[in-house]
């Protein structure tokens, strides 16, 4: 049966208490994490990263280089996991597919006229199908923020549902671009729409707009996932993206996920970080805890 937008199914009327959110988020950042747990946490962070390059200047060489890095984060240090996935434009998917071979690293492709999403339904569907055909395991779509802000929620809902259908067996991440949604109330509402329309993951941002994945926004989205899970028993994944560039911030995010959603979400099947520079900072922290020496970016690969 075709899904349709039904506001009564959603808790979209929930008003978000911004001051309360800020207080709660501040508390996640005061947890003391001991050395051994920190090391394990950092390994987990590495394994949850979607290593990303989404630039106009991306070349096949850059994508190949990144795919290599995805599997060999820092060979000097044995025992490191791979990242979860690489995230590229549709035109680079085939190159990534070839570079990754039969590695367990997945390929995520942005689609639907990323990053603005200002295009027609046909083009967005074609964009998505192309990426899937080329071998993408995951599709990161953007919602139509303009339509959302204009109050055309059915349009947004139907679009997500249509893209989900076009994805086939690829998992769908829905990017809300929270930096353009203005309020936490909107973030919550967009989360609910995306989840009900068939998103496997909800994702904060494209990385092209500031602010991106603030903890307040991620918290609000995690609560939407929690409420949906409590209602239906269905798990939805979460991917904060953009602005998480330090190991410390990533660990704060893990603390938040654990305390809101619990252990089942602490794997890269349900939680991801969209980032380009986070991996190196985590590696530097790990090497620091190994050697006791503060590290320099000079000794880590750029891509």
């Amino acid at each position: 049966m075709k899904k349709t937008y039904n506001p009564s199914l959603m808790l979209s009327n929930t008003r978000i208490d911004k001051v309360g959110v800020e207080e709660r988020v501040a508390r996640f950042q005061t947890r003391s994490i001991k050395n051994e747990s920190k090391k394990q946490g950092l390994h987990m962070v590495l394994n949850m990263i979607d290593l990303t390059t989404l630039e106009g200047k991306d070349t096949p060489g850059k994508v190949q280089q990144m795919c290599y890095k995805a599997q060999h984060l820092h060979d000097v240090h044995p025992g490191l996991p791979t990242v979860a996935a690489v995230c590229v434009y549709p035109s680079m998917v085939s190159i990534a597919r070839k570079a990754l071979g039969n590695s367990s690293v997945k390929i995520a492709s942005v689609s639907t006229a990323f990053p603005s999403g200002q295009s027609t339904r046909e083009i967005k569907l074609a964009d998505t199908k192309f990426a899937v055909e080329q071998g993408a395991d995951e599709i990161d779509m953007v919602i139509s923020r303009g339509k959302f802000l204009a109050g055309e929620y059915s349009f947004v809902f139907d679009e997500i549902a249509a893209i989900k259908e076009a994805c086939g067996k690829a998992r769908l991440k829905v990017i809300l671009e929270t930096g353009e949604l203005c309020t936490l109330d909107h973030v919550r509402m967009a989360s609910d729409i995306a989840i009900h329309a068939g998103a496997d993951f909800i994702k904060t941002s494209t990385g092209k707009i500031q602010p991106a994945a603030t903890m307040q926004v991620t918290y609000t989205m995690l609560m939407a996932i929690k409420d949906y899970y409590d209602q239906t028993g269905i798990m939805i994944g979460m991917k904060p993206a953009g602005g998480i560039s330090t190991a410390k911030l990533a660990l704060h995010n893990l603390v938040m996920v654990k305390e809101i959603l619990g252990n089942p979400w602490l794997s890269n099947e349900w939680f991801r970080f969209g980032a380009s520079s986070l991996a190196n900072d985590v590696l530097m922290q790990l090497m620091k805890s190994e050697s006791g020496l503060y590290q320099s970016p000079d000794y880590f690969s750029i891509d």
Partner: protein
């Protein structure tokens, strides 16, 4: 009412307290406390290195002439606050004459390096004779972040004579002040702060040398370490510099002026530029 000055540290253009929350008292000759200063930790060193690294690109790419102007501005600011430095030096046990000399030397030192900023490159660079059709030249480039441990027996000049040549050549600096005489270091940070020096180019910490210097020496993102006669500490510092091939400049007695203090903190880049042999002309380049 007399208001006592709070002596804080200087990191990234701000005056925070040490992250460790520790302090130590400075006493005068009669044994009474004249100030409480920050007992900085290795995490303060870490923060300072991050700040210094962040602005290295911008500072090293400023024109040499502009860096000279800024150093000269520092001299002006120091001159303007002469009385404060004199008072602090005498509080810490210097005679009036010695204090006056030290402040004057420090001002002269800054003016001296202000002059060198857009000149040392010409003096120290070279065009090299090679037996192939190349124009071969060597030019200097700043090393990066320099760890500096101020000469310990003085409060002001021991600090200025190492900072000035480092930043003159386009480096940024993380500095541990004199452990026993740190007051002028903090006041000098205020001079730096009001002289158009971008925040982070000079970072000044107070505390135990035995705690701060090893943290600088072992830090992978510090490119050189400058010290003067630290006794027993010299050897372990030299060993700690090995890991990232850090340049270790352990002076016995550094004077306040000298071109060699600038060039010691530069890397030499040699370029082989192909040239044509035109019509048998035998130009040397």
């Amino acid at each position: 009412m007399e208001i006592l000055k709070t002596y804080k540290i200087y990191i990234g253009g701000a005056f925070p307290r040490t992250e460790s929350g520790r302090y130590y008292p400075i006493v005068d000759a009669s044994g009474s406390t004249i100030a409480n200063v920050c007992l900085s930790s290795r995490k303060d060193v870490r923060n300072a290195v991050v700040a210094a690294r962040k602005v290295f690109g911008g500072w090293s790419e400023k024109t040499a002439f502009n860096r000279g102007q800024i150093l000269y501005r520092m001299a002006e600011m120091l001159e303007g606050r002469k009385l404060q430095f004199l008072e602090e030096l005498t509080k810490q046990g210097s005679s009036k004459e010695a204090a006056a000399l030290e402040v004057q030397e420090s001002i002269d030192c800054l003016v001296y390096y202000a002059g060198w900023a857009d000149k040392f490159q010409q003096i120290a660079s070279s065009v090299n004779p090679v037996s192939s059709s190349h124009f071969n030249f060597s030019a200097l480039e700043p090393m990066g972040v320099i760890g500096i441990v101020a000469a310990q027996e003085t409060s002001l000049i021991g600090l200025v004579k190492f900072i000035a040549p480092a930043i003159c050549g386009g480096n940024t600096a993380v500095v541990a002040a004199s452990e026993a005489f740190p007051l002028c270091a903090v006041t000098f940070a205020e001079v730096v702060h009001s002289s158009d020096v971008p925040g982070g180019v000079v970072n000044i910490l107070t505390g135990k040398v035995s705690e701060l210097a090893p943290a600088m020496a072992a830090h992978m993102d510090v490119n050189a370490l400058v010290t003067e006669s630290l006794g027993e500490l010299d050897k372990p510092l030299a060993l700690a510099c090995v890991d990232n091939l850090k340049r270790n400049l352990a002076y016995q007695h550094a004077v306040p002026q000298g071109l060699q203090y600038i060039t010691a903190l530069q890397e030499v880049k040699t370029t082989w530029h192909p040239i044509e042999q035109i019509g048998g002309a035998s130009s040397s380049y």
